[in-house]
C-alpha cells in the first residue's frame, strides 16, 4: 500500500520531452476507447466502402462536421463544469440571421463578422448571467434561450434567405488548403481545439473546471471563483456558436433564421460520445474531437454505402446509449468483482 515511488500511470510512451507532460494532464479512459472506435471505423470504412478513402471525401467529411466541432469545443468545458448549453444552435441561427440582415443593410462583411462574434458572446453572457447571477439551472435557462434566440432569429430575418454573399467568402469558406484536399477550416478547428485542449488540460483554469464539475462546494472552498469561471465558459460558448454561425452561413452561402435547427442535440451527443460525463467533472478534449469525427465518419460511410437515413438516425442514438451504458455496466461489474475478492481476504 505504501509505495515509495509514487508514480504516474505508465500510459504516456517516451517521446519528445514535453509531450508526456502535456499528455499526463489527459486522463486515459473513455476517450481512448472512443479514439479506438474512430480508428476502427475509419479503417473499416476505407476497406469496405467505395469512395471513402479519398482526399475529396475527407474534405466533405470535415466540412460536414465543422460546425458541430466548433461548438463542441467550448461545450466540452461547459459540460465538464456540470452545466449545459442547449441554446447553441439557436445562437448559430440568430447569428446567421443577423449576418444576413446586416448584409442586406449594406455593411461590409469585415465589419459584420466581428459584430456577429460579439453578438454571440453577448448571447452567451446572457445565458451565463442567468445561470451564475440569477442561479437558475442551466438546463432550464438554455431551453428558454433556445426558443428565445431562435425566435429572435425569425424576428430579425423572417423566413427569408439572404444568399448574395460574395464568392470570395462563400467559396472561401469551403476552400481547401493549397495543394491538398483538406479544407482550411480543418486548420482552424485544429488550432482552436489545441487552444481549448491546452486551456482545459494544461492550465490552472482548466484544472479548476474539473474541480467545479466534480464538486462545486469543494472548488469554492479551494478559492476557485466558481461562478466567474462558468460565466466565461458560457460567453465562450456563445462566441464559438457565433463563429460556427458565420462559418455555416458562408459554407452554405445562405443566411437563414432556421439554420442548424436541432444541431444542439448533435453537439451534446458528440460531446457525450467523446467521454464527457453529463454530470460534470470528467472528460477530455481529444475524446470529444474523436467523438465528433466518429459520428461524422459513420454518417459519411453509411451514406456512401447507400444506407438509408433512418438507419443513420438509429445508429446515432444507439451509439450514444451504448457509449454510456457499456462503460457503466463494466465499471459496476468490476466493482462487484473487486468487492467479492477483497471481502474474505482481509488480513487479520
Amino acid at each position: 500500500m505504501t509505495e515509495p515511488h509514487v508514480s504516474a500511470r505508465p500510459a504516456p510512451p517516451p517521446g519528445p520531452a514535453r509531450r508526456p507532460a502535456l499528455l499526463a494532464g489527459v486522463p486515459a479512459r473513455r476517450e481512448t476507447s472512443v479514439a479506438g472506435a474512430l480508428l476502427v471505423s475509419v479503417l473499416a470504412a476505407s476497406l469496405l466502402v467505395d469512395g471513402f478513402a479519398t482526399g475529396r471525401n475527407a474534405g466533405f467529411l470535415i466540412l460536414d462536421v465543422a460546425a458541430v466541432a466548433l461548438i463542441a469545443l467550448p461545450m466540452t468545458l461547459v459540460i465538464v463544469t456540470g452545466e449545459i448549453d442547449l441554446s447553441v444552435a439557436s445562437t448559430l441561427g440568430l447569428t446567421s440571421a443577423v449576418l444576413g440582415r446586416l448584409w442586406l443593410a449594406g455593411l461590409a462583411l469585415e465589419l459584420i463578422v466581428p459584430l456577429c462574434l460579439l453578438l454571440g458572446a453577448l448571447l452567451g453572457l446572457m445565458n451565463g448571467l442567468l445561470v451564475t447571477v440569477a442561479r437558475l439551472p442551466s438546463l432550464a435557462v438554455t431551453i428558454g434561450t433556445m426558443a428565445l434566440y431562435r425566435g429572435l432569429a425569425y424576428v430579425v430575418l423572417g423566413d427569408r434567405a439572404v444568399a448574395d454573399f460574395p464568392f470570395s467568402w462563400t467559396g472561401g469558406a469551403v476552400a481547401a488548403l493549397p495543394g491538398t484536399p483538406v479544407p482550411w477550416v480543418a486548420l482552424l478547428i485544429a488550432g482552436l481545439a489545441a487552444a481549448f485542449g491546452v486551456l482545459l488540460h494544461a492550465t490552472a483554469f482548466g484544472r479548476s473546471l474539473f474541480a467545479i464539475g466534480s464538486n462545486a462546494d469543494a472548488a469554492a472552498f479551494a478559492g476557485i471563483p466558481v461562478l466567474r469561471a462558468k460565466l466565461w465558459l458560457f460567453v465562450a460558448t456563445g462566441a464559438m456558436a457565433a463563429l460556427a454561425g458565420v462559418f455555416w452561413t458562408m459554407q452554405y452561402g445562405s443566411a437563414r433564421a432556421d439554420n442548424a435547427t436541432g444541431l444542439e442535440l448533435s453537439v451534446v451527443a458528440a460531446v457525450l460520445l467523446g467521454g464527457v460525463s453529463i454530470f460534470g467533472g470528467v472528460g477530455a478534449l481529444p475524446g470529444v474531437l474523436a467523438g465528433v469525427l466518429l459520428l461524422g465518419t459513420i454518417r459519411n460511410a453509411l451514406q456512401l454505402a447507400d444506407v438509408p437515413s433512418d438507419t443513420l438516425t438509429v445508429v446515432t442514438g444507439l451509439l450514444l446509449i451504448v457509449s454510456v451504458v457499456v462503460p457503466n455496466l463494466l465499471a459496476r461489474a468490476r466493482e462487484h468483482r473487486r468487492r467479492r475478492r477483497s471481502a474474505p481476504a482481509g488480513p487479520g
Binding site: 500500500m1 505504501t2 509505495e3 509514487v6 508514480s7 504516474a8 500511470r9 508526456p20 507532460a21 502535456l22 499526463a24 494532464g25 491546452v198 494544461a202 492550465t203 490552472a204 483554469f205 482548466g206 484544472r207 479548476s208 474539473f210 474541480a211 466534480s214 464538486n215 462546494d217 469543494a218 472548488a219 469554492a220 472552498f221 479551494a222 478559492g223 476557485i224 471563483p225 467533472g281 470528467v282 477483497s342 471481502a343 474474505p344 482481509g346
Partner: protein, 507 residues
C-alpha cells in the same frame, strides 16, 4: 463477555460482523446483542465504526462476513426496506428529509394512513403527526415543508419518524447533538417509555452524562473492533475514555509552550442575518484558539464567512491588519488564510479527482508557468506535501476516494499547508479519522502553531478542545457566549456556555 445469553433470543443481534470499504476496514468482527427492554449505549471515537454498524443494522450495508440475526434467526437485509419490515427504525446522525415534502409526509412516507381505495387519509396523517409531536413536546406545523427546518427541528422530525414506526429496535445515532436540554430530557423520557414497552434501543452519543443517565449497558468500539460490553453501573467515564482511546489521553495532545505573537486574524462585529450575530475575536501568531459549541450554533458558518465562502452582512475580517474583501476566498488565500473545511468529502476534497489534483488544487496559479500548468510541476508539489504529511496512498494518480478517512484528511491539510498560510482555520480536523492519525493531526497543529501560525480550530470534541486550545471561544445560537482561557476551560464550563445556561466572559 461474561453475562450469559438470555433465554429469549434478542430482537436483534450482530454476530462477528466485518465490513470493509476499499482498503478501509470499518468493522472487524463485531458482535452485539440488543435485548428487549434495554437501552444500549454504543460509544467510540469518530471513525471507530459506529456509523457503519448502524448502517449494517439499518440494512444499508451488507456485512462482508458475519451475520445479522432477528429474534435469533439469521436474516439478510437486501435494503433498508427489509430492515424496516423487521421492526428496525433508525435515526441517522444526518437527518434524511425530503425538503419538498411536508413534515407530516416526511414522517409517514410510504406508511401514510389510508382511506378507502387506498387513498391517503390527509386528516389522519396530520392528526397522527400532531400526536407524535405532542408526545415529543415540540411544536412544528405538520403541513410545512421540511425545507428550511433548523437542524434541531430536522432531528426532531427524524425522531418522530422513528417513533411512528412502533419499532422493536430503535437506533439513535447521536440524536442529541443539536438538541437543547429540554428537548433532550423529553427524548429520554420517550426512549425510556419505549424501553419499558419492550423495545430495544441502541443509543450513540459522545456525551457521557447522557450515556450514563439513560443506558443500561454500554458497548465500546475502537478502530472497527469490539472492545467491551458491560452494564453501565460497572463503568465510569474515565474507564470508558481509556477504552475508547486505547491509551491515556495525555498521548493524544502534545504539550506545548509558545508565546503568542502578533494578532494575525482579527474579526469584528461579524453578522449574517439569521445565522450569527456580532462575532468578534482575534487569533495571534503561535496560538491555537478553539471555537466550541453545539452543532448548529453557527461555528462553521462563522469560519466560512471569515474565509469568504459565505457572505456576511456586516463586520470586518482582517488578516495581519489588512482588511479582506467579502465573499472572495481567493483574496483570503492571497492574504495567507487557509480553511480546512468541516465536511471533508463534500467541501474539502473533490472525491473523483486524483490525490495529485486534490493536493495541488489550491496551487493552480502558483504552479503554472507561462499560463501552462504542467503535470510534472504538479506531481512534484503533490509529492512533496504528501510525503511531508506521510499520506499513505497507492499512487498519486489514484482517486482520493480510495484513501482512508485519515489519509484523506491529510491530503486536505497538505493542500492547504502547501499554500504557506499564516492563519490556518481547521473545522472539525479529526472528525471520522482513526486514533493514530488523530494524534498525528494534533501534533501537526501544535507544530504549526509552534512555528508561528495562528490556528483557529472548530471542534465538537471536548477533549480535543480542552487538550489543544490556548483559548476557547464558545458559541451559542449564533452568538459568542464565552471566551475561556486555557485555565478556565473545563468540560463543564464549556458545556454550560454552549447550552446557554450561563453567560461566560462576554466577548
Amino acid at each position: 463477555m461474561a453475562d450469559p445469553s438470555p433465554p429469549v433470543p434478542p430482537p436483534l443481534a450482530l454476530v462477528e460482523v466485518a465490513k470493509s470499504f476499499g482498503t478501509v476496514r470499518a468493522l472487524r468482527g463485531v458482535s452485539l446483542q440488543l435485548r428487549a427492554g434495554e437501552v444500549h449505549a454504543l460509544v467510540g471515537e469518530n471513525g471507530a465504526g459506529k456509523s457503519t454498524l448502524v448502517k449494517t443494522i439499518a440494512g444499508v450495508h451488507r456485512p462482508d462476513t458475519g451475520r445479522v440475526e432477528v429474534d435469533g434467526t439469521p436474516v439478510e437485509f437486501a435494503g433498508p426496506a427489509d430492515a424496516q419490515r423487521a421492526g428496525v427504525a433508525v435515526i441517522y446522525q444526518e437527518p434524511l428529509l425530503f425538503p419538498d415534502l411536508s413534515v407530516a409526509e416526511n414522517i409517514f412516507m410510504g406508511r401514510q394512513p389510508l382511506r378507502r381505495f387506498r387513498r391517503i387519509d390527509r386528516w389522519a396523517l396530520r392528526e397522527r403527526t400532531r400526536a407524535l409531536f405532542t408526545r415529543l413536546g415540540v411544536r412544528i406545523d405538520p403541513d410545512r415543508p421540511a425545507r428550511g427546518l433548523s437542524i434541531a427541528d430536522q432531528q426532531l422530525v427524524e425522531i418522530a419518524k422513528a417513533l411512528s414506526r412502533d419499532a422493536r429496535v430503535l437506533v439513535m445515532d447521536e440524536p442529541t447533538a443539536a438538541l437543547s436540554g429540554v428537548e433532550v430530557r423529553r427524548l429520554f423520557a420517550v426512549a425510556r417509555s419505549l424501553r419499558d414497552s419492550g423495545a430495544a434501543v441502541l443509543f450513540i452519543s459522545h456525551r457521557f452524562d447522557e450515556v450514563f443517565a439513560l443506558c443500561d449497558r454500554i458497548t465500546v468500539l475502537r478502530d472497527g473492533g469490539h472492545v467491551s460490553t458491560d452494564p453501565a453501573a460497572d463503568l465510569d467515564a474515565d474507564t470508558l475514555v481509556r477504552r475508547m482511546v486505547g491509551r491515556d489521553l495525555g498521548d493524544l495532545f502534545p504539550r506545548r509552550t509558545t508565546e503568542p505573537g502578533d494578532v494575525l486574524l482579527e474579526v469584528e462585529g461579524l453578522s449574517r442575518a439569521g445565522v450569527f450575530t456580532g462575532i468578534g475575536f482575534s487569533v495571534r501568531a503561535g496560538e491555537i484558539v478553539a471555537l466550541a459549541g453545539l452543532v448548529g450554533a453557527g461555528r462553521s458558518e462563522v469560519v466560512r464567512a471569515v474565509f469568504g465562502v459565505d457572505r456576511y452582512d456586516t463586520g470586518t475580517v482582517r488578516v495581519a491588519g489588512r482588511r479582506l474583501p467579502r465573499g472572495r476566498p481567493a483574496a483570503a488565500m492571497a492574504a495567507g488564510l487557509a480553511l480546512v473545511p468541516e465536511d471533508r468529502r463534500q467541501q474539502g476534497l473533490v472525491m473523483e479527482l486524483s490525490v495529485r489534483r486534490n493536493a495541488t488544487l489550491t496551487l493552480r496559479r502558483a504552479l503554472s508557468r507561462y499560463g501552462l500548468l504542467l503535470g510534472s510541476a504538479e506531481r512534484a508539489a503533490a509529492r512533496e506535501w504528501t510525503e511531508r504529511l506521510r499520506v499513505k496512498a497507492g499512487a498519486l494518480d489514484d482517486a482520493v476516494s480510495t484513501l482512508s478517512g485519515g489519509n484523506q484528511q491529510k491530503v486536505v491539510l497538505a493542500k492547504w499547508l502547501a499554500t504557506g498560510p499564516r492563519v490556518l482555520i481547521v473545522d472539525e480536523p479529526t472528525r471520522g479519522i482513526d486514533v493514530g492519525t488523530k494524534a498525528e493531526v494534533h501534533r501537526l497543529l501544535a507544530d504549526l502553531a509552534g512555528r508561528g501560525l495562528a490556528v483557529l480550530m472548530v471542534s465538537s470534541e471536548l477533549p480535543e478542545v480542552l487538550g489543544m486550545a490556548d483559548r476557547v471561544l464558545v458559541m451559542h445560537e449564533g452568538r459568542l457566549a464565552a471566551e475561556l482561557p486555557r485555565g478556565a476551560a473545563t468540560e463543564e464550563s464549556v458545556l454550560r456556555a454552549a447550552t446557554g445556561r450561563e453567560a461566560g466572559v462576554a466577548a
